[in-house]
């Protein structure tokens, strides 16, 4: 008679006092949060500064190569050896593919220039990238900018197609960027209005100008936790009402909070889960139910 086989814990399961079949929340690789270190906010100013810095770095490197060459040459002459090869200026590597990275460009579109003319100081930046127009305004001037876009006879952006935000935990002056994608049906044009808001700032709701912003702003609140001022119904829309975290923030883990303890990917047949539940039941322990924290 063979010994009854003890069920084995899945490979790579963390050891600990929790028990062999119950997964440790904190140790799960899907729970590890890697916060971004950069701020990928597209901007013409940043790009130009980067280009200038890159050119300066290239120039410095080239100068250093030349200086090293002079030193090596003098040394070789002094020792009576052959002179070293002169350095070759490095050229950017050519890629043989069909990609042409769209870099930010100076705004030439009449819509952007018109907006800058009307809003003046309120406009922080205008640029074009990948054929799309972006206008970044000060966060207090959002409502005015939207109103001008809708009502001005030269702009006439009738429809708010999309509204969403992005979380930038690495940035110091702001925490979120909010984008409004406007569409002009009559003129067949699109425009992106952008504002940067810090944590806790409540931007004004666009509902009074574009009623379609209602659900979009609710979704932004639900996912990122940005509340909008004067919104008719600032409640959660996709998550349950009692959900506490904001899933699309970067500090939220991929495997969401409140999911089950057992890693079911390791346990396709559900054997381990059943045994774990059984054992826990015999010990009078109710396995932790999924909660919404």
């Amino acid at each position: 008679m063979s010994e009854p086989i003890e069920p084995q814990a899945p490979e790579g399961a963390p050891e600990g006092p929790v028990g062999p079949y119950v997964y440790d929340y904190a140790a799960s690789p899907q729970r590890q949060i890697v916060l971004p270190k950069t701020v990928p906010l597209p901007s013409l100013k940043t790009y130009e500064a980067e280009v200038v810095a890159q050119q300066a770095a290239d120039e410095a490197k080239w100068k250093k190569m030349q200086a090293d060459y002079e030193v090596a040459k003098a040394k070789a002459e002094a020792e009576g050896k052959d002179a070293p090869k002169p350095p070759v200026k490095p050229v950017p590597r050519k890629d043989d593919n069909d990609m042409k990275t769209p870099w930010p460009q100076v705004a030439k579109d009449p819509d952007l220039l018109r907006l800058q003319q009307l809003l003046g100081e309120q406009v922080e930046e205008i640029f074009e990238q990948a054929g799309e127009l972006t206008c970044q305004v000060r966060k207090e001037a959002l409502h005015e900018a939207l109103r001008i876009c809708r009502d001005d006879a030269d702009l006439k952006y009738e429809m708010l197609a999309d509204q969403t935000g992005t979380h930038y935990p690495a940035a110091k002056e702001f925490a979120f960027s909010l984008v409004y994608h406007l569409t002009s049906i009559s003129r067949r044009k699109r425009l992106r209005l952008r504002i940067l808001v810090p944590e806790g700032f409540e931007p004004e709701s666009a509902c009074s100008l574009y009623p379609s912003a209602n659900w979009m702003e609710r979704e932004t609140y639900d996912m990122l936790g940005i509340r909008f001022k004067d919104h008719p119904d600032m409640t959660r829309i996709l998550c349950p009402e009692d959900w506490e975290a904001y899933p699309l923030r970067k500090e939220y883990p991929v495997v969401g909070l409140g999911q089950r303890d057992i890693d079911f990917r390791e346990d396709r047949g559900g054997v381990l889960m059943r045994i774990a539940m059984q054992k826990a039941g015999q010990m009078g322990i109710n396995l932790k139910q999924p909660t919404a924290d």
């Binding site: 950069t38 597209p42 901007s43 042409k100 990275t101 990238q129 990948a130 979380h167 049906i185 699109r190």
Partner: protein, 366 residues
Amino acid sequence: MFKSEELEINLGPQHPSTHGVLRVKLRLDGETVVSCTPVIGYLHRGLEKICENKTYFQGQVWTDRMDYVAAISNNLGWVEGVEKLFGIETPRRARYIRTMLTEMNRIASHLLWLATHALDIGAMTVFLYAFREREFLLDLFEAFCGARLTTTAFRIGGLREDLPPGFVKQARAFQAIFPERLEEYETLLSENRIWKKRTVGVARITAEDCIALGVTGPVLRAAGVPYDIRKAFPSAAYAEMDFEIPTRPEADTYARYLVRLAEMRQSHRIIQQCLDGLPEGPVMAKIPKILKSEVNEVYHAIEAPKGELGYYFVGEKGGVNPYRMHVRAPSFVNLQALPKMIEGRLLADVIAAIGTLDVVLGEIDR
């Protein structure tokens, strides 16, 4: 003897005519709808969060699961959005095949809409007729990419494979039968007295309200606004195609039915042009195995069967995943118009209004 009392009822989330897990809170006065609040989120899977942690190639698979009856349209939006982010130029043959498949998918989606909408209202026969043609199209998708619904049909930079042998012949066979099949549906419905009573003048919404609420697609066009992204911001090979934007001025359920039927005819025209003018050449652009983005953001929208489907990407320097991905789902925005359509109308019109909006809950909740 008569007393008036308002009654609050739930339509859904488990109701066959809500096409998924849509819950509508209704306040009724007798049979009249006083107020209506759609409640969504029962199918929320956190697709945007998932895609932020997948590479650009892996994320496309998840788009199939949004609007599962028009997966090819979702794929088209994703791959073109990513191509715009990286500045990739796609070969012309690939763009033609993409256009053709997307239009086939539009017909399949509209057929499913017609079938279920008619079934909701009480016409059973159309359901069986429409599914017969949809099956033909799904077989074509299966021949092309091996899947009927969750297709992942395209690749970033073009297509994984060229058309399989015999595909063009089968597509032409479909083209030959489809116009007369469309006429069959019309004979069943267009002059049907019950159908007209249930749809004419029901769930009206004006063009101004549509634009203010962001409603796009056939609902907007049935209100008389000729706005179609295939014409306004052409992508794929739509700029080279000759087709019209069908519109109706009535803005009711019957007008939307007519617009969608006319759209199927236009799609049929586009497929014919793609088949006739299919250029020779490669189907895949030269792109690196690993795509690393620069700092960039794009919003790319295409005309999905339900309306404007937009993808918003933010790229990180050297990142292989999108830093931020957002989907502007047409059904999500269109559903906002539901209270405007049915408040003050009868309870039976709610079913017609949900059907005519053509919502898919997988796309609304994402």
